[in-house]
């Protein structure tokens, strides 16, 4: 066990965990922030996506010992982020979700995409969200909602 000082959603957090513990499980079980989801544990589904130093990152394969000072931002902070809020609003307007379990990860990837590429093409969307599984299959509405958020932010 070791103690780590983290920056999560702009706040300092101290956690004690085994160094191998993935960031995902620190968020979920130590910090009780369960908006970030466990889907596969091998970075093959994207449900656990958070932003680490602004980069969309699969938190299920990042050991807590490697996070360091880099700021971590999760779905719980998205309503305070202008792009995050626009994406969430577009998701609601387009009635994207079904079971909803993957959507935190989809939204975190969509926000990262729109911050880098405000007017994404279909190809950009497929590249940025290409590794996110939605088992319900809401992909058509995800595309529409990203384009809608892009319009709203323009």
């Amino acid at each position: 066990m070791a103690t780590y000082q983290l920056s999560v959603n702009g706040k300092r957090k101290e956690v004690t965990a085994d160094p191998s513990t993935p960031l995902l499980w620190v968020l979920r079980e130590e910090l009780k922030m369960t908006g970030t989801k466990y889907g596969c544990g091998v970075s093959a589904c994207g449900a656990c996506t958070v932003h680490v130093a602004g980069v969309a990152t699969r938190s299920c394969i990042v050991p807590i010992s490697l996070v360091g000072e880099r700021p971590v931002v999760t779905i719980e902070a998205m309503h305070d982020d202008p792009v995050g809020r626009a994406v969430q609003d577009a998701w609601v307007e387009k009635d994207v979700v079904q079971c909803g379990y993957c959507q935190s990860g989809q939204i975190m990837c969509a926000v990262a995409l729109l911050k880098a590429t405000p007017k994404p093409t279909d190809k950009n969307i497929e590249e940025s969200l290409g590794g996110n599984v939605c088992r319900c299959g809401t992909y058509v509405r995800i595309r529409e909602a990203i384009k809608r958020a892009s319009q709203q932010l323009a």
Binding site: P22, W25, K37, Y38, D95, G137, V140, R141
Partner: protein, 729 residues
Amino acid sequence: MRLKSENSTGFSRRGFLRVSAAAAGGLLASLYFDLRSVAQEGQAPPAKIYPPDAFIHIKPDNKIVIQVNRLEFGQGVHTSLPMILADELDADWQQVIAELAPAADVYKDPLYGMQMVGGSGSIAHSFQQYRELGAKTRAMLVAAAADRWKVSPDQCRTEASVVHGPGGKTAKYAELAEAAARRPVPATARLKQPSEFRLIGKPVRRLDSRSKCDGSLKFGLDLDLPEMKVAVVAHPPVFGGRVKGFTDSEARSIDGVREVFEIPLAKGTGVAVVADRFWAAKQARDRLKIEWDLSGVEHADSSQLWTKYKELARTPGNVSVARGDAKAIDQVDAAKRLVAEYEFPYLAHSPMEPLNTTVRFDGDRAEVWAGSQFQTMDHMAVAQVLGLKPEQVTFHTEMAGGGFGRRAVIDSHVQREAAVIAKRLRGTPVKLVWPREDDVRGGYYRPMHAHRVEIGVGPDGMPSAWRHVIVGQSLVAGTPFAAMLIKNGVDATTVEGTADTSYNIPNFQVSAHNPTVNVPVLWWRSVGHTHNAFVMETLIDELATLAKVDSIAYRRKLLKSDAKKLRGALDLLDEKTKGWRDKLPQDHAVGIALHESFGTAVACAVDISIDNKRPRIHRATVAVDCGLAVNPLSVESQFQAGLSFGLSQLMAKGAITLKDGRVEQRNFDGYTPPYIVDAPMAVDVHIVPSTEAPTGCGEPPVPVISPAVVNALARLTGKRYRNLPLATI
């Protein structure tokens, strides 16, 4: 019977439900699996009077809480069932809150006689029930207002949770709730005419949308209770294997590990690790050194099973349906005969939220939290393991991250495991988690199937004789469902979608073999239709091509005259796709499929090209007849997304295979679901206008897409695709 009123606050929803149930005649006291009712599926269910107080809670602040008698796991009933009730109640939709009901007799499916989601029956079976609940409650509120104002109920009308009386009098439902609750529940109440609907038939957005977008919604896996522990189980590498011995010193050396012990499983035995946290539990589980006894259990092997299945498919099975002359095919000239063999592998459901259940056992009581499609059975299973009566076990229905059948398990194996572990940790809540690897390798798959079809083609190019043999494990043999679903030795779910085809084929025989294999199998969204629609719709397309007839025209000609829903869907598809079908770029092709399942008819057209050696679906159009579309927005969503789920069958790595009894895939890297590039880029959904009773939309999107795509592929490559998954094109 009481409606919750402003004067009786102070007890929790659980307390409220307990009181309600007691008032309604001790309904919680006698949980049972109503086999008789299940066996009567298809017949009118016995008349039941549902107590409104178990479903509706009008709160002092005018909020109206509506209990949803089923699991929500994406299909949208958490919105659509409250819509139905709220419409008849004339409730203010902005004030409606939906909750998933716990396990209780009163929440059983009116037709199935158990609390469950399956067979796309949620709306179909509860439409009338929720309408009546709303209408009766409305009548009671109106009567209370009429009493108060000393007027006739006929002089009152309702809108947005307010009763309006003569002379501009108004009363909010919340003000009337207590008086209304003292009135008897009327035996009948007038239901609205369709023209009076305010919500039913209108596109309504989901109630659970925002909380699923901001991370605040708690799924079963997100549950956190004081002192809760997390359990992960080592399951045998071959189904039914048993623990011979194990060494846990390395596992126990991990911080936070509390207990390691052997447990019985639905088949065989395993080793449970209980820890403070998931990560510790999983790490410890993976470090157990277990010696397994794998003798005495069949080591299933996919390649050997294919050999066996294909041999079986060449012999007649138990006859499911026989029309005309079964031997007519033998008289058909070889040149006029089409013989086709198909392979379908095992498929895992792999819902996004890994399987989990939390149980706390307190000696004479227990509490369970589970995203369950089969609450009645899972509830009973936990009670049985703990030696309790069902009424001593409170069973909460948790929001679930998908399921597709995986949470509708007849042997309740996840809940049993959780209960066994919780029993040992008396007083401590334990959350059992099946990590993704356990789910991919843990069985309960869509069974593998072989089909062999011999078709005689008549002089008009239409099929004159059809002999069809299907091989695949039964989903229900040896279970309480067998009586209902096995007829003449054939599991109805093996042949559904073929035996009941609406194509008019004069000499038609379907038979089936249901071999026993040591691999647990389970219904996978749309069940038998997954493979039967693929076989039927690819063969019909091939016949149309051989006959040089347009594939829509061929199907229209072949449909039975009474196939009204299918014909309507096909006509609508034809109309809506005319604009683009004939104007495709040169390297694109159209594929068509038509299929009815669970009472809903679906016609589908896709526009595809080949990109990176995979089908690229530029567009899909579906036309649907699902009776009255209660929430057209939800119908559209289910179809758009359900097509993607159906494409699971075509993924290059979309198969579960076994070698020497061991599953060869571990996770999404080896068993790959469709990603965004695999899904249609756009889907337009057209609903056939209807006032007929609503039928389901959860499963019917799934069967059509795979055959439509390979039918289009066949036009591009000239090949036919009969072995799934689609490893190469």
